[in-house]
Symmetry: C2
Subunit: 205 residues, 2 copies
DNA sequence: ATAGTAGTTGACTAGTCGGTCAAGTTGATT
DNA sequence: AATCAACTTGACCGACTAGTCAACTACTAT
């Protein structure tokens, strides 16, 4: 019944990209509509506010991204290798994004979360949820590494939090310094945070 | 010559606080003027733009904060103790701020930097500078720890970057989860990042 | 064929934004 | 006491903000 439309999908896609490339506050509904080639009236046919669009856009982005995360954190891969692949993946994505836009874009969740956490609780909660999903991958990998005895770590959940903090902070730093190379070698530090056994691993810039 | 005024100082102080509590984009010049009890005309007598005010406000904040940093990172204190005190200091400041405003405010430099880095290069550079100043304290402490042989770390500068990333990321995470307790025990993780020798230190939530 | 609904359109609010300015006031210097 | 620079004031600007709405159109299910 009624006509069909791709406007909603275009809006979700454009909104996520623009907010990631710039920021939530500096991207206007008009900007999003223009880039998506959708009139503002249509925007408000699909979404009841800018905040609701942002939340939907981030949820949609996760839906698309999840299979890749499942692949990276596959049980078929040794747990420490998962973490290394994830670190490398982050670097590659940021490098691509930076080349495309002329500046480092940072973590999409961390950026919007840090920006609006103090004055938009709904968006803050969505970010918290996304963060939680990532933490689950990390915790799972770390506790398996512990079970395998390749890691010396009293609490995998706490370790997952620390790893997540470190990686998110590195992305903030890369964004502020506008230098993607900050993210080049996150792997070894991640390992030293979770207390890998083995021999010493070189920690370089 | 001419009359004197405290308007400039009030504007710097109020601006820093409001931007820290909220965000750069969501705080208007009118907000700042109202809170500082200064008319907008006077604002533009002292500052040529909102961005210039922000930069000046951050510089002024550092000027006030530096003596405390000098004290924390005093050469009179053993290097690893400096780091522990710094970590504790961050927790205390954030706890106070959170109690005052009802939400975790996060790192003032990281928040504004992450928000505007992609569309205001002047502010981005100021944040980069502030970050650099902090890194100098860290690098100095870490290289002294290395010299004292209490730490096993190939490159103090890289280690300082990693520590800074971890702490900044923890502040982002605390802000997004609106939970200051995330910052309660940064010390042990900092030590494991820089490769402290000693026996194992409990890493808890 | 047509009814009915999903989607489109553009003109429209009402408020806010950063920023300007000319005229007025104050107070330290002479 | 007079001067003049430093500071204050409030009205004002045009651009932009998120959001509204009634009229219109196209498509799908019958």
């Amino acid at each position: 019944m009624g006509r069909t439309s791709t406007a909603k999908e275009k809006l979700l896609d454009v909104a996520f990209k623009l907010i990631w490339d710039q920021s939530y506050g500096s991207v206007s509904v008009d900007d999003i509509c223009q880039q998506a080639e959708v009139k503002k009236g249509s925007f408000y046919h699909f979404f009841e506010s800018k905040a609701e669009l942002a939340i939907a856009a981030y949820e949609e982005h996760w839906r698309v991204k999840q299979p890749e995360m499942d692949r990276i954190f596959s049980s078929q891969t040794p747990p420490l290798e998962r973490l290394a692949t994830w670190a490398q993946f982050i670097y590659e994505v940021q490098k691509l994004k930076a080349a495309e836009h002329g500046h480092v874009c940072g973590c999409p969740y961390g950026s919007i979360g840090s920006e609006v956490a103090t004055h938009d609780d709904k968006i803050r909660l969505k970010c918290e949820e996304m963060l939680g999903r990532t933490l689950r991958y990390l915790e799972c990998a770390i506790s398996e590494a512990k079970r395998d005895g390749v890691v010396d770590c009293p609490c995998p959940k706490a370790a997952a939090n620390q790893v997540s903090s470190f990686v998110m902070g590195a992305m903030v730093q890369a964004k502020i310094q506008n230098d993607v190379e900050v993210l080049k070698n996150l792997g070894p530090t991640i390992l030293s945070i979770i207390g890998e056994k083995k021999s010493a691993v070189a920690v370089t810039t």
